[in-house]
């Protein structure tokens, strides 16, 4: 009896149900964001005539932010590791059947692809940096002088971005012990959520740099100081409606995938039905419907539709809402997934 009591305290025998804390949703969010930024940047690079040089929010700022976000995300993933010093071992092997292995190699390949995309048009976007480091101009010239390299960079970015976005969802859906995550829809769901957050982020940056009379004076001051420091040319506001409408499409796909995800669970076994109940009527229902569906998808869809119809000005609000909603989606799915289980008695 005593022994039983003691062993029940042992975390290696008694399963701990919520082992993933804030690090995983943060990583999933940033990973999805970077995947989205890569796809948008890759496509923009492919569409652009190679010899044209422009200051581009999609092709330069996007990948630069992507590099920073990816590093942050990988750092939070690293924080989650139980044996931090063993992280290098992931790169001594490649296991075809392990999503973790796929992920760690994809993450490694993402860096050069993102960097190539960022460097191609960097001298135009941030002239101050280019004049200080002439090597940057050389690299940019080197890339842009070779149309095939540009093509390759664009394709690689798109493909790796899609892989990264899908992999963040597959990472969850392969964990069979959690019925809520047991859905292949999670891959595309996270991909499109990542795409929507990426489009929203770029749209937000464009909105920030657009001339506006209502901006508080201190924000104007900060922005103009930043522009002076980087000698950056004004970004092309013509991309804003394109990004907003792309974001609307991504959000629409995302909400349909969410519907499919829930539908699949509700029409599956009783266990999956119960797992979906966590989001539909259970303890996660209110945060899920309010934060993810309401504030994260429906409101920005409405606002961006009004923006595109020229009913209201382009504002920062939809961009912030979409990013917040994307983050909330990961937090709620990771948390609710860990609350779902096959046997209620195990609770």
């Amino acid at each position: 009896m005593t022994e039983l009591t003691y062993t029940r305290h042992n975390p290696l025998i008694d399963p701990i149900f919520h082992v993933w804390e804030w690090q995983i949703p943060v990583y999933l969010f940033l990973g999805g964001l970077v995947g989205g930024l890569m796809i948008i940047a890759g496509i923009r690079l492919l569409v652009l005539r190679p010899n044209r040089r422009e200051a581009l929010v999609c092709c330069t700022l996007g990948p630069l932010i992507g590099l920073a976000a990816l590093s942050l995300g990988m750092f939070s993933l690293f924080l989650d590791l139980g044996h931090k010093l063993h992280v290098w071992r992931l790169y001594t092997t490649f296991q075809v059947t392990s999503p973790m292995s796929w992920g760690s190699w994809i993450l490694l390949l993402v860096y050069p692809a993102l960097a190539a995309n960022a460097l191609a048009h960097l001298p135009e976007a941030i002239p101050a940096l280019a004049s200080r480091f002439p090597a940057l101009v050389k690299i940019s010239d080197f890339i842009l002088a070779r149309p095939r390299l540009v093509l390759f960079a664009g394709l690689t970015n798109t493909a790796l971005g899609a892989a990264l976005g899908i992999y963040t969802g597959i990472l969850l859906s392969t964990l069979g012990g959690r019925p809520l995550w047991n859905s292949a829809v999670l891959g595309p769901l996270f991909l499109f959520s990542g795409l929507s957050t990426a489009a929203a982020l770029l749209h937000g940056i464009l909105v920030l740099t657009m001339p506006s009379g209502e901006r508080p004076a201190f924000a104007d001051f900060l922005l103009s100081a930043l522009a002076r420091m980087t000698q950056a040319r004004p970004l092309d506001p013509a991309a804003a409606p394109i990004l907003a409408s792309a974001d609307n499409s991504f959000l629409t796909v995302e909400v349909s995938l969410l519907g499919l995800f829930l539908l699949g669970h509700v029409t599956s076994t009783a266990v999956h039905h119960r797992a979906a109940g966590l989001l539909l009527t259970g303890p996660y229902a209110a945060p899920f419907w309010v934060l993810v569906v309401g504030l994260g998808i429906a409101m920005p869809l409405l606002l961006q539709t009004l923006e595109l119809a020229h009913r209201i000005r382009h504002t920062l609000a939809p961009s912030l809402l979409v990013m917040f909603g994307g983050f909330a989606l990961r937090v709620i799915l990771v948390s609710a997934g860990q609350a779902s289980r096959w046997f209620e008695a195990l609770n």
Binding site: T5, R8, H9, E214, T281, A285, A286, W289, A317
Partner: protein
């Protein structure tokens, strides 16, 4: 299908939050469209240059009032289930003045400050920060102020009850008051700004045509007159007993696990009334903290407002079923039976049994709960690792826990 939906159990807490979100977004959207996200617009009210706030708010009041009246009269809304904030005359006047001062200084009321902050205005954000700071301060000082906060109580009072007027007459009076207020507001705007009001949106402007605004005003007046004719919207004193519903309902009388009741009490929830149906003598010996003693014989519909959640308890639950039937017939919607009665309370809360399969966490929680209510500490966490866990049978006590059981809760009650 009857409203209020939440009180009739059409959805639970989770869904009610989602409904609140949808209503809140809609409310905010229309406030913003009306221009109420701007402090200038709101402050213009106090200079009589733009009386939009008065017009919108008064319109909202008479829309809700005539709407509620008509829906209740048709039988769709059960007015007795609508929650009314209890009135405390002096504290609420003081609170109203404080709110007014804050309104004049900050240029917003709480609702419009949210709209303003959401539309990106920095002053609105500052106002919200101030609001939360104020709430925090009030939370800290509300305990010493309790005597004042609950002074001059009138209970849940309505204007018809207060003035002893028929409900419909009051509806008409408020509608007329609103229409007069709109006319006076237009006059004031004209005086202060010197410009004639826009003929299309005006109630009083001169070439007399039947504009939409006037049609709306007419509709309100008609609704008011109808209210006078149609009479009382309350269901009144007659009780309609739906025997089929009752018979079906009796089979699934809502039992409430003692552990859950314990949680409610510990959380300090005040949205339910715990009714102890035993004799005053047994009530005196031991009762669950916060319980109200209403012996079964003297139980009437006046025990609580009908929208209140009731939890009934007796010794073993048999009499409670009788009371449940009675209250259900009287139209109470959420009446719970304490599962197992006070015996269940004793076995599951005060002296819970912890078997070998109970996890250590649960044992710790159970013993904490038991200690909160003055249960014996033998069930305590200290014994979690000790062998005699199965021996933890409840001490054989007269009807309910002796000294330990009574002294504990009383002490707690004073503390709360």
């Amino acid at each position: 299908m009857y409203a209020p939906f939440y009180k009739y159990g059409m959805f639970g807490d989770e869904v009610s939050l989602i409904v609140a979100f949808v209503i809140g977004i809609g409310f905010g959207f229309f406030l913003e469209r009306a221009g109420f996200g701007s402090a200038r617009k709101l402050a213009a009210q106090f200079y009589f240059t733009d009386m939009a706030v008065l017009k919108v708010m008064f319109t909202a009041i008479i829309t809700a009032m005539t709407g509620l009246y008509l829906l209740a009269r048709v039988g769709f809304v059960d007015l007795s289930m609508v929650y009314l904030v209890p009135t405390f005359v002096v504290p609420q006047i003081v609170g109203g003045l404080l709110l007014g001062v804050g309104f004049v200084i900050g240029g917003y009321c709480p609702g419009t400050s949210c709209v303003s902050a959401a539309s990106g205005r920095v002053d609105g954000m500052v106002y919200i920060a101030g609001m939360f700071a104020g709430l925090l301060v009030f939370g800290e000082i509300s305990r010493p102020l309790e005597g004042f906060l609950y002074s001059t109580p009138l209970g849940q009072v309505t204007l018809p009850a207060f003035f002893h007027l028929p409900y419909g007459v009051l509806v008409l009076a408020v509608v007329l008051m609103a229409l007069v207020a709109f006319a006076v507001a237009e006059w004031a705007e004209k005086k202060t700004t010197g410009t004639a009001p826009d003929a299309e949106g005006s109630l009083t402007a001169m070439p007399w045509r039947l504009t939409p605004v006037r049609r709306l005003a007419g509709a309100f007046a008609v609704a008011g007159v109808l209210a006078v004719v149609l009479g009382n919207p309350y269901r009144g004193n007659t009780v309609e007993v739906d025997t089929r519903d009752l018979a079906l309902g009796a089979a699934r009388a809502q039992p409430l696990a003692p552990a859950k009741l314990a949680d409610w009490i510990i959380q300090g929830r005040n949205d339910f009334t715990l009714v102890d149906l035993r004799t005053p003598a047994s009530y005196g010996t031991y009762h669950i903290p916060g319980a109200q003693n209403v012996p079964l014989a003297s139980l009437t519909a006046d025990v609580a407002p009908r929208n209140q959640t009731l939890v009934l308890c007796t010794d073993d639950g048999a009499e409670a079923a009788q009371a449940w039937f009675l209250l259900k017939a009287e139209g109470f919607r959420s009446v719970y039976l304490l599962a197992g009665g006070l015996n269940g309370w004793r076995d599951q809360v005060l002296y819970p049994k912890a078997g070998p399969e109970t996890s250590a966490n649960d044992v710790a929680r159970l013993s904490q709960v038991a200690q909160y209510f003055g249960g014996t500490p033998q069930t305590g966490v200290a014994s979690a690792a000790a062998p005699p866990m199965p021996v933890l049978a409840p001490p054989v006590a007269p009807p309910i826990a002796p000294a330990g059981g009574t002294a504990g809760p009383k002490k707690k009650k004073e503390g709360c």
